[in-house]
Amino acid sequence: MAYLLHPQLILPCPCGWRHNILAPPSSTATTMSPVLRTGLSGSVHTGEAFARRSRSRSRSVRCMANPRRVKMVAKQIQRELSDMLLTDNVLQFAVLPEASLGADRYLSSLTTISDVEVSSDLQVVKVYVSVFGDERGKEVALAGLKSKAKYVRSELGRRMKLRLTPEIRFIEDESFERGSRVIAILDKIKNDKSLENENRESLDSSAQEDDDNWDDVDPDEGIIYVD
């Protein structure tokens, strides 16, 4: 259904959808924002009146993909990136430097990709990474990932068929930490409250001992880190 135009003016849209857009002719400034799923984009800009009206808008072409597709792409990127973290050697050495020395299945920190957010035009991807371990492990892991951002982008492009591989940004995800802290505090309060109740009801010394032991155990004590 090519209405009128010169075939050179019809371009494939840079976003993933299989539709074509009209190239901005050099004389007028027309804007396209095709949102359709198949076929050529709907509006055909002809006529002087329209050209005059749309000259005020920007010259750039922006495409918004279907929100469902954005979600699917995000999920797929999450799968691919998690798989890359597990299997790819380069990434693993970047995240855990001691893996290159051979201390390979005994980990000091564990990196997980908790969330992936894709912009609606599928050009920017924000990857939220959560690292389990101490401070130093976190810094090392995040720095390693950020240094390999370009490599990750090229690997993703090789694995996924997207028209334009998006730019990848790694962001530290604090939500796991915060949630864990909150739940730990809530548990402590619950334990304290139950301890009080038990003290009030009956002087059961064995329960008291158990609760004291609970508080004394430092969760960080037994972890051995391989350097």
């Binding site: 699917m72 799968r79 597990l86 005994y106 908790s114 389990f132 730990a184 969760p219």
Partner: protein
């Protein structure tokens, strides 16, 4: 292999299997299998004989909610509660698979007061063996 533990629908009854070996095990291994849609936490002894297990599905989550980190956390909490009574203090954690359950279950284990000796990643890695399923097209 040992006879599998009979699956019980509701968790109100005690597990039949645990009455058989009510021994005190100070050290054990916790296996966490974290796939994208579910998390399974199994507590075994050092040799690998299963003591108790729990998963996001058995904790009452259904469908897409099983894959969430909160579900992994409750599953880990459930699995450890059975075992903490038997006096397990130290554990080694083996993590398998991608998925959000890795981090969440680890944090839950650490919060529960059991000392973690080691964290290992035992995701099965073929040395280029079977052909993997076809790529999903997005």
């Amino acid at each position: 292999m040992a006879k599998p533990i009979p699956k019980i629908g509701s968790r109100k009854n005690g597990r039949i299997g645990s009455r058989k070996h009510a021994r005190k095990i100070p050290k054990g291994v916790i296996h966490v299998q974290a796939s994208f849609n579910n998390t399974i936490v199994t507590v075994t002894d050092v040799r690998g004989r299963v003591i108790s297990w729990s998963s996001a599905g058995t904790c009452g989550f259904k469908g897409t909610r099983r894959g969430t980190p909160f579900a992994a956390q409750t599953a880990a909490g459930n699995a450890i509660r059975t075992v903490a009574n038997q006096g397990m203090q130290r554990a080694e954690v083996m993590i398998k698979g991608p998925g959000l359950g890795r981090d969440a279950a680890l944090r839950a284990i650490r919060r529960s007061g059991i000392l973690l000796n080691f964290i290992r990643d035992v995701t099965p890695m073929p040395h280029n063996g079977c052909r993997s399923p076809k790529k999903r097209r997005v």
